[in-house]
Symmetry: D2
Subunit: 369 residues, 4 copies
Amino acid sequence: MDKQLDLSVYAVRTDLALEAREMASRERSEEIPGVRFHSEEENGITVSKMVIETMEGAERIGKMPGRYVTLEVPGLRNQDSELQDRVATRFAREFHAFLKDIGIQEGDSALIVGLGNWNVTPDAVGPMVVENVLVTRHLFELMPEQVEEGYRSVSAVSPGVLGITGIETSEIVYGIIEKTRPDFVIAIDALASRALERVNTTVQISDAGISPGSGVGNKRKPLTKETLGIPVIAVGVPTVVDAATIVHDAITYILAHLGRQVKEAKNPKPAGRLVPGGFTFPGKVERYTEEDMPNEAEQKAILGMIGELAEEEKRQLIHEVLAPLGHNLIVTPKEVDDYVEDIANIIASGLNAALHGAIDMENVSAYTH
Amino acid sequence: MDKQLDLSVYAVRTDLALEAREMASRERSEEIPGVRFHSEEENGITVSKMVIETMEGAERIGKMPGRYVTLEVPGLRNQDSELQDRVATRFAREFHAFLKDIGIQEGDSALIVGLGNWNVTPDAVGPMVVENVLVTRHLFELMPEQVEEGYRSVSAVSPGVLGITGIETSEIVYGIIEKTRPDFVIAIDALASRALERVNTTVQISDAGISPGSGVGNKRKPLTKETLGIPVIAVGVPTVVDAATIVHDAITYILAHLGRQVKEAKNPKPAGRLVPGGFTFPGKVERYTEEDMPNEAEQKAILGMIGELAEEEKRQLIHEVLAPLGHNLIVTPKEVDDYVEDIANIIASGLNAALHGAIDMENVSAYTH
Amino acid sequence: MDKQLDLSVYAVRTDLALEAREMASRERSEEIPGVRFHSEEENGITVSKMVIETMEGAERIGKMPGRYVTLEVPGLRNQDSELQDRVATRFAREFHAFLKDIGIQEGDSALIVGLGNWNVTPDAVGPMVVENVLVTRHLFELMPEQVEEGYRSVSAVSPGVLGITGIETSEIVYGIIEKTRPDFVIAIDALASRALERVNTTVQISDAGISPGSGVGNKRKPLTKETLGIPVIAVGVPTVVDAATIVHDAITYILAHLGRQVKEAKNPKPAGRLVPGGFTFPGKVERYTEEDMPNEAEQKAILGMIGELAEEEKRQLIHEVLAPLGHNLIVTPKEVDDYVEDIANIIASGLNAALHGAIDMENVSAYTH
Amino acid sequence: MDKQLDLSVYAVRTDLALEAREMASRERSEEIPGVRFHSEEENGITVSKMVIETMEGAERIGKMPGRYVTLEVPGLRNQDSELQDRVATRFAREFHAFLKDIGIQEGDSALIVGLGNWNVTPDAVGPMVVENVLVTRHLFELMPEQVEEGYRSVSAVSPGVLGITGIETSEIVYGIIEKTRPDFVIAIDALASRALERVNTTVQISDAGISPGSGVGNKRKPLTKETLGIPVIAVGVPTVVDAATIVHDAITYILAHLGRQVKEAKNPKPAGRLVPGGFTFPGKVERYTEEDMPNEAEQKAILGMIGELAEEEKRQLIHEVLAPLGHNLIVTPKEVDDYVEDIANIIASGLNAALHGAIDMENVSAYTH
C-alpha cells in the first residue's frame, strides 16, 4: 500500500461530533485543546456536551466550531414506551436549555425543516418529525389575539431532496425563510454513524450548521447562521452505517478483546477511557478501554501483517477489498421502520414541549400521535 | 324565505369553468358574449375548449378571463387501463398544444407545484402527480452537457397546506420561484365539482391562475401571471362535491325526468342542449336537455311550492334544511383511493410526455409507476 | 310508476338496526311488537339498546333477532381527542357488559376478525382495528406460565376481500377458527348508513351475526353462532351512504322543515319522536319530529306530485332518475382518512380495555397508537 | 477458545441453498455426492440449478433434499427498468419450467401465500407480491363459464406473523388450504443471506418446503408436501444479512486479496472456483477464487493468530466480540424500500406470466402496477 496516497476518501464517515472526537483523541488520552467535553449517564440516558471553541479544535476533530449535545440511549432498541417517554422529556429539557444558551427568546418564531427523503425510510426521520410537530404560525398570522399564552409561532416544512424536486434543498429553505422571516431555524436530519449500536438510539443537537443532501460540486450550500443570518439548530439522528466501518471496528474490537485476554491473566480489572466507538451499554454490554488494546508487538502477533497497519491503512485496505465486490453498502437495521418512527415521535414530542411553554414537559407525548 | 338575503353563500360551488358556463347559460340558449366555447367527443373522451375573452364574459360566468380546456371521461370509473392510457395520451396532446398556444417555448423551464394536503386522499392529487413526474432541473444545473436532447428543465414541489406547515402555500411557492427562476409554473390541484359524475373523471387545464387553499381574510394570495410574472398553468381534477349540490341537482333531474315523460306522449325524440350538470355518458347514460324541463305551471304541478322557487331560493332552502342537521358535508366516492391514484398517474404520464419531446406521446405511461 | 313492481331493490340500504327500526316505525308511533328499545344520551354520547326478540319483530325491522347496542357521537366530526377518549371508555364499558350479557366468561379466548378491504379507506376500519389490538394468544400458547393475570387469549386477523384473495372471507375465517378454536369471535366491519351525519360517528355492537362482503349468488356465507358454533359479536361502523339516500332524506327534511314552519305559527314548541334519520346533534342541531311532518294535503301543496308519492315510490323515482346519469354513487365524507383512523383507534382501545381486565378502563388509549 | 463447545450457534445463517453449498464445498473442490449443480450466466442474469438428491447430500449442505433454482442479478441494484423487465421474463420462464418439472398441470389451481410482516419493510416482500398477483379463483367459483381460456384458478393470502395475529402462520395456511383445496401452494418469503451483495438481487425457487417465521419450541410447523399433501413451491428473496457475517466474509476477502497479491508476482491470471460468497458481478466486480487463498503459513503471516483459526472458530470469535457490544444486528441496505418494491414487482409479474398461459411472457410487467 502506497502511503503517499491521499487517504481522506478512506476516512470513516461520521456525522456525530461525539464519534469524531473519539477518533481524534484515540492515540492520546490528553484533552484536545480548544474542545470542552463533559458526559454523564443517568438511568439509561447518556448526555454528552461538547463545545468546540477554536479552529484548532475544529481541525483536530473535523467538525465545525459550536455546541454539540448528544443523547445516547441504547435501550431504545427495546421499544419500551416508558423509556421513550423519558427520553422525550429529557430531550425537551436539553433542547430548551440549548435554546437559552444560544440566546433564543421565549417569543422568537421557529421554522422547523425536515431534511431528507420521505420515500427512503432511514432518511425519513426529518419529514416524520415535521408531520408530528405542533404548527402555530398560521394562527399567529390570522388570529393573533386568539392564540393562548405559552405558545410561540412555529412553522414546519419538508423540502424534499434533489432527486425528487430537482432543486437544491438549501434553495427551497432560503426562499421560505425570506418569505416567512422566522427568528431561528431547527433542521432535522438523518445522519451516518460509525457505530451500529448508535444507529436509531442517538440524537445530536448542534448550532454548528448543517449541509443538507449529497450536493455535487460547488453547488452544495450549507444552512448556517452565516448563510441565513439567523441561528440554525441542527437535530440529527444516525440511522445508517457503512459496511466497511462495521468491518473496521470489528477488527479493532477483536484486537481489544484478545488484548484484554492477554492482560487479564496479570491484571483482572481493566478501566479507563473507551476505545473509540466502544460505547458503554449501561448495565448491559462490555466495554473495551484503551488499556485493553494490545501493544504493537501483540497486535502483530494477533493480526499478523494486518496488525502492523496504521488505522488509515487498515481502512484503505478494507475499502479496496469490499468496494469491487459490491459489499461496501450503506446499511440500516432490519427493524428500520419501527425505529425511525419511534425516534421521530420522541423528537417531535420533545420539540413541542421545548418550544411551547404551555406544554407540560412531564407529559410531552400527549401532543403527538 | 326572505328574497332580500344575500344568496351568494348558497351558490353552488364549482371550480370547473365548464360547469360555471352551464349554470350561467341555463336560462337562455344564446351564446354568452365574450365567451367562445367548443366541445367534441371522441371515443369516450369529451374535450371542451372555452376562452373567456372579456370581463363581461368573466362576470357572467364567474370565472377569470383565460383559456380553459376540459377533458371529461366518464369511463374512468371503470378503471380500464387501456382507456387510462388513451386519456394520458390525449391529455399530453392537449397540454402540449396549450403550452404552444400561450407561447411557452420548447426549452423553457417548468416548476410543477402539487397543491393540496397529502394526508387527505381527495385532496392529494397534486402531491401524487409531483411524486410521479420526471424531474430534470438538477441535471441541467449540475451536468448540463450530459442531458440528452429532447428534455427540458423540470422541477417539482408539494408545498403542503396551511394546517400542516403554518405557512400560506403562496408564500412557499413565491419563495421557491424567486430562488429557482423557472420560466413557467404548472399547478396541480383538487377541485370541487357540482356534479358527482364528474368527480375523478374530469381534468381542467387553464391559464387563468389559481388561488390555493382556503385562505382566510385577505391573506390568500393567488398564483397568477400577474402575481408571479411568469405564466401559470393550472391543472385541476374535481374530487369532491357537497351534499347540498347533490340534492339540488337531483331535484332538477326529477323535474326534467317527469317533464320529459309529459312531453314524450306528444314528441318522442328530445334533443338539444344539456341540462346543466347533465353530462352525457357516451352510450351509457340518459341525457336531459333544456327541452325536457317542464314549464312553470308544470313545475308547480310536479313539485308544488318547491317548484315555484327560483334556483337561488331552492339552493338556499336546501342549505337551510341540511346544515343544521350536520348533513351538508363535502363528499367523495367510496373508491376515492383508487380513483385519485389513477387520475394522478394519468396526469403525471401526460405531463411527462407533453413537457419532454424525447418521451413518445404514444407510450406515455412508461415513465411513471 | 307501476305499483305492481317489486320495490325491494329501491329500499334504502342500512346496516344499522337503529335506522331500520326508525324506518319501520315511521308511520306509527306505537311500539313494534317483539322489539325492545331504550336510548339515552349523556354528555354527547347517545347509547341505544335494542333487542329483537321475535321473528315477527325481525321481519318488521328487516334485521335478524338479537341484541343491538349503538353509540352515536356526532361530535366525533370535530376530532376532539378528549371526546375520543371518553367514547373509547364508554365503548369499552358497553362492550364489556355486552360480553357478560351473552355469557362470555373472563377467561374465554377471542378471535378478532377485521373484515373489509384495506386498500379502500372507507372499507378499512376492520383491518385498522386489527392492526391496533393487543394480541396475546401466542403468549398463552408458547409460555402460558409467563402471562400475567388479567389478560385473556386474543388473536386477530384481517382476511381481506374476495377481489384481493379470490377466496370467500367466510372460508378463510372458518378455516382459522377450526385450527385455532377460539371461544368467541369479534368481527369488525364498515357499514352503510342511510344518514350522512351518522357516517364515522356511530358504532353498533350486535350478536346477530354478519355476512361479510358482497358475495354473489348462493356462495355468501354468514358468520353467525349457528354457522360457527361459537358466539359472534359484530362491531360495525357506518362509513358510507349512497347518493340516492341523501336525496331521499333531504326531501323528507324539506317537508318537515316547511311543515314545521306552517305549524309553528300555531304551536311554537314541537316535541316527540324523531323523524327517521333525524338524529339529534346534542346542543348543536335541529331536530325534526313526526309532529313536524305535514299532512297529506300539505305535502301535496309543498311538493306537488312528488308529495303524493308513497315512500317506496319516492325512492324508486330517485333511483330511476339518478342511476342512468351515473349519479347514484356510494359516497363518504372528504375527511375519510382521518375519520376512519380515529374511529378505528377508539374501537381498538375500547376492545383492549373490555377484553383484558388488567387494562384500566379509564385510560384505554394508552395501549394503542 | 474451547473447541469442545457446540459451535452450531455460531454458524453463518443462510437461507440460500446456493450459499450453503458454497460453504460446504469450500475446503474441497470436488463435487458433493448426492448434489447436482449447474450454473450459467447470460446478459447479467446468473441462473443456477441444484438438485439435492440424497440425504447424504442434504446433510453435507444443511438443506433439505429437493430442487433449487437461483437467479442472481447484481445489476438490480441500479434500478434499471429494462433489466427488471428482463429478469421478470426470465423468472417467469424458469418458474414455468419448474412447475412442469415437478408435475404441476396447466389447469391446477394455486394458492399464493405471502409470508412475512408487512410492517417491516425487509420482511414485506411476500405480502407485496400478494398485493400484485392476478387473483382469479373467485371467477372460477362464481362464473366459471365466463373465465377465458388460458387462465388457471389462483388465490392469494398474506397470513401475517405471530406477533401480529397471535396465530402460527402455518395454522392459518393449513386452515385456508383445507377450506379451499388448491392443487399446489406457492409461498413467498424474505430470506437471510450471508452476502450483502446478494441482498435484494437474488431469487430462489425451491420445492423443498419452508418453515415460516421464527417459531419457538416445537410449535413451528413447516409448509411442505409432506405436511400439506400438495406440492409447495417456495420463492425466496434474501433481504437481510447479519453484521457478524459481513465481518467474517470481509476477513476472508482480505486474506484472498492479499493472497492474490503474493501470487500475482508469479502467476498473473487467476482462475477457478469462486471463494464462497465471492459472487461475480458480471463485468463489474473482482472475483476471488480458491486459488487466491493463501496457504496456512501465509494466512498466519497475514492475519497472525486470527489466521490460524478454523472457520468455525473465527465465527465464534466474531460473535463473542460483537454480541456484547450490541453490534450484532441484522441489517439491510439503506435503499430497502425501493429494492423490496422492485423485486416484489418482478416476482409478481413473473408469477402472473408463469401461471396463466394467456399472459404473454414477453410482456410480463403489463399485469402489475
